[in-house]
């Protein structure tokens, strides 16, 4: 009986709770840029950033590999080193979830594999479960050639399907950008 009441409550709350864009009160800042970079490169002694503007040929390569048009004209790519040893790349990016963009940082190691994802700003009241490291650790070790798709190599979060989809797309996009910008030259 109690299970039935619980189910009824769950269904009713989902059905009645009309979806609408959340106001600014739903925005939660989890990490500032400094904090995110500190998380990505805790041991770094040097940190720098550069703006990478893809040439038409590079843009075409990225777009063909992604099968998707790049919206950004350029990317700010952070890099870090410790005693001349390169520690990897990090990019802060945004991707629309349901209504509003999710801001997150993607770290890529020197071999082109994902080395961490951190949610920095989440702007909606629903779907924020994607910020949990239990979910985000799934991206660790992913390469640009991996599918990075829900129900293939990424297990979703109930009620946050669009946020998961946004993160999947964002992570794959950054992995491909770093690959084309830095690693294909090597």
């Amino acid at each position: 009986m109690s299970l039935f009441v619980l189910l009824t409550y769950f269904v009713a709350s989902q059905a009645i709770g009309a979806q609408s864009p959340d106001g600014p009160e739903a925005t939660t800042v989890y990490l500032t840029q400094e904090q995110a970079l500190q998380n990505a490169f805790p041991e770094a002694d040097t940190l720098w950033s550069e703006i990478w503007t893809p040439t038409p040929s590079q843009r075409k390569t990225v777009e063909r590999r992604l099968g998707w048009r790049l919206a950004e004209p350029n990317f700010e790519i952070f890099q870090a080193s410790l005693k001349e040893q390169h520690l990897g790349y990090a990019v802060i990016t945004e991707q629309i979830g349901l209504y509003k963009p999710i801001t997150f940082m993607v770290k890529v190691d020197s071999t082109g594999q994902n080395d961490g994802v951190w949610i920095m700003v989440y702007r909606e009241s629903r779907g924020g479960e994607v910020k949990r490291q239990r979910f985000l650790t799934q991206y660790k070790g992913k390469k640009p050639t991996n599918p990075i798709r829900l129900n293939r190599d990424i297990i979703g979060v109930t009620g946050a399907t669009l946020s998961v989809r946004a993160l999947n797309g964002g992570v794959k996009r950054i992995l491909t950008v770093i690959d084309v910008a830095y690693l294909q030259k090597q």
Partner: protein, 250 residues
């Protein structure tokens, strides 16, 4: 005098034997109750088994991926597109072999595909909940065409896409028709404006199939369906044993 010993087990005769009219009515009622119960059980078993099989169409020999849309390049009849629940598939050899069209975001629920009549390199795909995507290079690079609203968020489903000459687009949705004269830069509602809806049909359908709660919840429904089947058969078995089985003599 021989004293009759009453049996310990109380039996309920299937065939009314009592001459007492009141008892006789009760016996008929009980008999009716049993047969209606058995009929309902059979119905329940059919429902549970057919529901289980419908949730797993591959067990019926049907392809697990139902084709939602299909289109042929008018200039190259070997180049086909097929939209399914999980994505968009293409064939370059007239349908002999298929591959998923690589794109950053899966083209889930691709309900319609259309080629521009004046330039078949322009391909449009309507995704039921996620909006409209298009490729201007024959399906290699795709991009989202903004509609001015997010179908999933507004409870609107895209259903059909019509592409005219000079990039004119017409999109039939569950909330009405919208049109764009400029390839999707601006959209206007034709007739009754597109109304966001709760789409109760989809809600009830998702609750019925279990997908409402989560994709994996369908397996919970499977367990429940098999539970009903097992309970029904064990109930029938118990009834059979009570009615027709050998009883121990007291």
């Amino acid at each position: 005098m021989n004293a009759h010993k009453k049996p310990h087990l109380k039996t309920i005769p299937l065939h009314p034997t009592s001459q007492n009219p009141k008892r006789r009515v009760m016996e008929i009622y009980r008999k009716l109750h049993r047969y209606i119960g058995i009929g309902t059980l059979v119905f329940l078993i059919i429902l549970a088994l057919s529901g289980f099989l419908l949730n797993h169409p591959s067990l019926l020999g049907a392809p697990s991926e139902r084709t939602l849309s299909f289109a042929v390049n008018p200039l190259d009849t070997q180049h086909l597109y097929r939209g399914t629940r999980s994505g968009l598939f293409a064939s370059d050899d007239g349908g002999q072999s298929w591959y998923e069209v690589p794109m950053l975001f899966a083209a889930e629920n691709a309900v319609d595909i259309a080629f521009a009549p004046d330039n078949p390199e322009h391909v449009y795909v309507a995704l039921e909940d996620l909006g409209l995507i298009c490729s201007t290079d024959g399906g290699i690079v795709w991009e989202q065409i903004p509609l001015g609203f997010i179908p999933l968020a507004e409870g609107v489903h895209l259903q059909r896409i019509g592409v005219g000459a000079n990039k004119s687009l017409h999109l039939w949705t569950s909330g009405g028709l919208i049109s764009s004269p400029d390839g999707g830069t601006t959209w206007t509602s034709v007739g009754t404006p597109v109304q966001p809806g709760k789409d109760l049909y989809t809600l009830i359908h998702q609750i019925h199939t279990g997908y409402f709660f989560a994709d994996w919840f369908v397996y919970v429904y499977d367990v429940a369906a098999w539970g009903i089947v097992i309970l029904s058969f064990s109930g029938l078995l118990i009834w059979w044993r009570i009615q027709f089985g050998k009883r121990r003599k007291p």
